[in-house]
């Protein structure tokens, strides 16, 4: 089995493992952030470039470094490979650049976005982004559309991770939505008004890393941090029936899959479980769910970070003034 060293931690992994998966096995700070990769979806990853790392030694056989940063979610390890993630200043810079690219067309509407608190982009920009926006032109905008009666598409927020397309391709019997247009103008759409409707389509909501695809049966009812997640299951003929119920008081506001520490669901769930089973009596309750992935999922943490950032940028501005 090949041995790989990432930021000084060495691990042995099966042939064909990606750098990212090896890093996740090691765990901790050295795991590259991901926005488009999803281990449960084949051929996902490679698009967003947030997981770029530096390969400072190719392998035992060919120790030359790789000339460019590589997407750790797609690059497989070689025996003797040495990788730098957070120990490489270039990589941290490159990542800040990528985050900036992802944000230049992303609306800064976190306060009204129903994904706030569980948005991977929000986390990413707090942890890896620049502080000041250097952008001074209009962002691209799209109208909001309903794709069916259960899912809303807010294209302005989309970062083109392709995950929902892969869900449709790999889980659903037929794909009716996809990526239209090219480049800057690319968008996720159905082209002609058409409902995305089949028993697995709801998983598009769970895999969306931002607030572009949202659950219409949940929207605007509550901020995530006011809801209480509870593990529950039922005997479902279609899927595993293992879900998280999100409660406000006695009311189930929404049902989602169970996400692991990387923000990926353990198992995909069917639309019946997600959209139609919203009574406590539909479920066997297992107990409260411990959420450890989303650093900003609790409002407190979110507010703290915001304040910290503001303080920092104020200090920076003061410093600049003093200089001039």
């Amino acid at each position: 089995m090949p041995k790989v060293t990432i930021d000084g931690h060495t691990i042995e992994v099966p042939e064909g493992t990606t750098i990212l998966e090896a890093a996740r096995k090691i765990g901790g700070d050295i795991v590259p952030p991901t926005m488009c990769y999803y281990s449960k979806l084949k051929t996902s990853g490679g698009y967003c470039r947030t997981c770029l790392v530096k390969v400072s030694k190719g392998s035992e056989k060919d120790p030359r470094p790789m000339p460019k940063p590589v997407a750790s979610c797609r690059q497989t390890v070689m025996d003797g490979m040495e990788v730098q993630n957070i120990t490489s200043p270039e990589i941290l810079d490159a990542r800040a650049g990528v985050v900036e690219f992802l944000l230049i067309n992303h609306p800064l509407d976190c306060p009204v976005c129903d994904q706030a608190g569980e948005c991977n982009l929000q986390d990413l920009s707090y942890e890896h982004g620049h502080e000041v926006s250097r952008l001074d032109f209009r962002k691209r905008t799209f109208p909001m559309i309903d794709i069916g009666d259960k899912i809303k598409l807010h294209m302005n927020r989309c970062i083109m991770c392709y995950r929902c397309v892969k869900v449709a391709e790999q889980l659903c019997p037929e794909r009716v939505h996809g990526v239209l247009n090219r480049g800057w103008d690319s968008e996720i759409s159905t082209y002609i008004e058409q409902a995305v409707d089949n028993e697995w389509s709801g998983n598009m909501i769970d895999v969306c890393p931002v607030g572009a695809l949202t659950d219409k049966t949940f929207r605007f009812k509550s901020r995530v941090w006011f809801t209480k997640p509870v593990d529950a299951h039922r005997n479902c003929p279609t899927c595993s029936g293992k879900v998280v119920l999100w409660y406000q008081g006695e009311e189930v506001l929404r049902v989602t899959g169970r996400k692991d520490q990387w923000g990926e669901v353990d198992e995909f769930i069917c639309n019946e479980c997600r959209f139609d089973k919203k009574k406590t009596s539909d479920w066997v309750i297992e107990g409260p769910r411990h959420i450890d992935r989303h650093s900003v999922i609790s409002q407190n943490h979110y507010e703290e970070l915001k304040k910290l950032k503001q303080d920092l940028s104020r200090q920076k501005k003061l410093g600049e003034k003093a200089h001039n």
Binding site: Y47, R49, P69, G97, F137, M160, G183, W184
Partner: protein, 445 residues
């Protein structure tokens, strides 16, 4: 005058047709090749030192030797006739005037690679050339050069033309393969490389039109003879597309190694700068390569004369050098605005980005908008550094080299012509800027 291996006999009547081509030595190389073993052809191409003419300059013989040969799996040869790099028009010229040299090259190369079905992927805009190629293919079938048991050799080959539909990115080989499969032209994430998994998952070689055509003279005169032309690792002849402010724009076949100065000023080639003006800058290898000011294109930083070879043009790295690229030689006179030229390129890459990866999708659009702002007289000094920073954040971080291709013109324009950006920002010469801005109904930035 350079020796002509590709553009010879262009003045002969009917050279576009099979009879005219055959009357002038056409398909002799094919007869010779079919007497050889496929490996011998590959080795002949290796000996010739031929390097890919599509832009990257990768040794063709080596590329051919990489093709995987699993039992029972077909192999494919695909000719890249997508020619969309601004400044490049040599492939169109060759296919239009001498289509049969490409067909002959395709048959020989397919035989060498063991491909029994091959495709020519031509950009959709060149539909009239598509029909010229189709006619040439039909003639070749009728003459027994294509189809079953070609010239009694036992070798079978079906050759088809396939048309694209307007997308520069389909020139990138894996995007081209996707497009040939009837999909969006999104480059694939490598590895696997096409030599292992290409068209429909089968081993595939993608080569430029000129590369494949060059196989014909290589077989005719032998690889060794071919390698005697040129200098060092830049062997053979190369088609250069010359455009811009010169007296004689057009396609020239040069022996690699001609001095750049001779190429620009000699009557055998560009014939000097139009209207007796001075040379300001040159983009030597298609829009993607760094632009160089006159003094650096004529001589290297060390003061040596710059030659038309892969190595000499690259001398000095990106600090003072450039690349031969696809041979799109764009000349600008003293009155040209490098900033405006860059603005057209920035629009191009923004328009052509496939949109898969974020640095290219967002970065190209961002750079274009900043240049728009500068051209519109609203630029600020910090925008120059911002442009520099954005191009750096794109370069090397993308799935395919289009990101680099978008970054390099920006970097080189700033590197060598920073004062011109500053002049724009200080509102000098703004009067003649307004109308360029209107060219595409551009809204204000």
């Amino acid at each position: 005058m350079s020796r002509k291996l590709l553009l010879d006999n262009l003045d002969k009547p009917g050279i576009q047709s099979l009879t005219g081509y055959s009357d002038n030595g056409g398909y002799e190389a094919l007869r010779k090749a079919l007497q050889m073993k496929p490996e011998e052809i590959v080795s002949e191409v290796q000996k010739s030192g031929l390097r890919g003419r599509g832009g990257a300059g990768f040794p063709t013989g080596m590329k051919w030797s990489f093709i995987a040969k699993p039992e029972g799996v077909p192999r494919y040869l695909v000719c890249n006739a997508d020619e969309s790099e601004p400044g490049t028009f040599k492939d169109r010229y060759l296919m239009e005037h001498k289509p049969h040299i490409l067909i002959e090259g395709m048959i020989i190369s397919s035989f060498a690679l063991g491909a029994n079905t091959s495709y020519i992927y031509i950009r959709g805009e060149m539909m009239y050339v598509f029909h010229i190629l189709q006619k040439a293919i039909d003639e070749a079938y009728a003459a027994g050069y294509l189809g079953k048991n070609i010239l009694g050799s036992g070798f079978n080959l079906d050759l088809h033309v396939h048309c694209g539909a307007g997308a520069y990115i389909c020139g990138e080989e894996t995007a081209l393969i996707e497009s040939l499969e009837g999909k969006r032209g999104n480059p694939r994430i490598k590895p696997p490389f096409p030599a292992v998994k290409g068209l429909w998952g089968c081993p595939t070689v993608v080569n430029n039109v000129e590369t494949i055509a060059a196989v014909v003279p290589i077989i005719k005169i032998t690889g060794e003879e071919y390698a005697k032309i040129g200098i060092g690792k830049s062997t053979g002849t190369k088609l250069i597309s010359a455009s811009g402010h010169i007296n004689k724009p057009g396609v020239y076949e040069i022996e690699l190694g001609v001095p750049v100065e001779e190429f620009i000023y000699s009557d055998a080639y560009c014939g000097g700068i139009k209207n007796g003006k001075q040379l300001k800058a040159v983009v030597a290898g298609g829009s993607s390569v760094p632009v160089l000011p006159a003094h650096l294109i004529l001589k290297t930083a060390a003061g040596e004369p710059r030659l038309m070879t892969y190595e000499s043009l690259a001398d000095g790295g990106f600090a003072t050098g450039t690349m031969l690229g696809s041979g799109g030689f764009i000349v600008m006179d003293e009155d040209t605005s490098v900033v405006k030229n860059l603005w057209t390129f920035a629009h191009f890459y923004h328009h052509e980005s496939c949109g898969q990866c974020s640095p290219c999708r967002e970065g190209t659009g961002w750079m274009y908008r900043i240049l728009n702002k500068i051209l519109n007289g609203k630029g600020e000094m910090k925008d120059i550094d911002l442009l520099w920073n954005i191009q750096g954040n794109i370069e090397g971080k993308t799935i395919c080299p289009l990101g680099d291709a978008a970054a390099w013109p920006v970097a080189s324009s700033i590197r060598h012509f920073r004062s011109e950006f500053e002049a724009y920002i200080n509102n000098h010469g703004m009067k003649d800027v307004k109308h360029y801005y209107r060219l595409n109904n551009l809204q204000e930035a």
